[in-house]
C-alpha cells in the first residue's frame, strides 16, 4: 500500500487515501487528509472529526451517515444534527470525508 510523508513521518494509506493504522493519526495527518479532500478545517469541522473519533473509540466502527447525523443531533444539538449542516461542512459526504480526516476506515454500508 502507498506510503505518504506527512510532516516528516511515513504514514501508510489505502488506495482511496484512508489511513491504514489508526494509531498513526494526529492533527498533521488530519490536516493533510483535509487538503486532499479540499476541505478547509474550521472549528466546526474539528468538532465533527473529534466526534467521529470518539464514536469509533466507543463502537469500533465508522458510522453510516444517517447514524452519524442522529448521534450528532443528540450530542451537539438539532441545529448540527442534520444533513444540510453536515454536507455544508463536508460537501462530498460527511461520513466519507470526515471519516477520512479523522483517520477512520470508510464507513460500512457507505452508499
Amino acid at each position: 500500500m502507498p506510503m505518504v510523508n506527512i510532516a516528516g513521518k511515513e504514514v501508510e494509506v489505502d488506495e482511496e487515501g484512508y489511513l491504514v493504522d489508526l494509531s498513526q493519526w494526529n492533527e498533521d495527518v488530519a490536516k493533510y487528509m483535509a487538503v486532499e479532500e479540499k476541505v478547509e478545517m474550521t472549528e466546526s469541522h474539528w468538532e465533527v472529526v473529534n466526534f467521529l473519533r470518539e464514536y469509533y473509540a466507543e463502537y469500533q466502527i465508522a458510522p453510516a451517515v444517517r447514524v452519524l447525523t442522529k448521534a450528532i443531533g443528540k450530542k451537539l444539538g438539532p441545529e448540527k444534527g442534520n444533513n444540510k449542516y453536515l454536507y455544508e461542512l463536508f460537501p462530498y459526504g460527511p461520513a466519507k470525508q470526515a471519516c477520512k480526516i479523522a483517520g477512520l476506515p470508510k464507513p460500512t454500508g457507505c452508499i
Binding site: 466507543e58 463502537y59 469500533q60 466502527i61 453510516a64 447514524v67 442522529k70 460500512t108 454500508g109
Partner: protein, 131 residues
C-alpha cells in the same frame, strides 16, 4: 390492496430479515461478516432482527480481549446497533444454559427465548440468513 400494507411512505417494500449467528466470534470470519451485513441492511430501512444461538452467543460476551490473537475486537460494535435502529436481539435459552451464561454476561440487552418461541419467530420472517 394488501400490498399497500407493506409500503412505507413510498420508500419501498419492508421485509422481515432475520440474521442467525451460530459461530464463535473469532476463528472464522462469519461473525464479523455477519455483523457488517446487518449494518448494511440497516441502511435500507428493513425490519431486522438478530438471533444468537449455539457458539454464536459468545459473540455478545462482555470483556472479550483479542490482544493475544491480534485481531480486532468488534464486540463493542454490537452496542452501536441501537443507533442503527436494530433493537431486536434474541438469544437462544438452551445455548446460554449449555454454556453457563446469563444475560448479565452479555454486552447488550437481549431477549432470551426458549426454542419453541424462537421457532415461531423464525416462521414469521420473509428472509433468514445464517452466519
Amino acid at each position: 390492496m394488501s400490498d399497500m400494507d407493506e409500503m412505507d411512505e413510498g420508500s419501498g417494500i419492508v421485509k422481515k430479515f432475520m440474521f442467525l449467528n451460530r459461530k464463535a466470534p473469532h476463528g472464522t470470519v462469519y461473525a464479523l461478516e455477519g455483523l457488517e451485513v446487518v449494518l448494511i441492511t440497516a441502511a435500507f430501512d428493513q425490519d431486522v432482527s438478530m438471533v444468537f444461538t449455539d457458539d454464536g452467543v459468545y459473540q455478545l460476551m462482555k470483556g472479550i480481549d483479542t490482544k493475544g490473537i491480534e485481531v480486532k475486537d468488534f464486540s463493542k460494535t454490537y452496542r452501536a446497533l441501537e443507533g442503527y435502529d436494530i433493537e431486536k436481539l434474541y438469544v437462544d435459552q438452551a445455548s446460554m444454559d449449555a454454556r453457563g451464561l446469563t444475560e448479565d454476561d452479555l454486552i447488550v440487552d437481549v431477549t432470551v427465548l426458549p426454542v419453541d418461541e424462537m421457532a415461531n419467530l423464525m416462521a414469521e420472517q420473509d428472509v433468514v440468513i445464517s452466519f
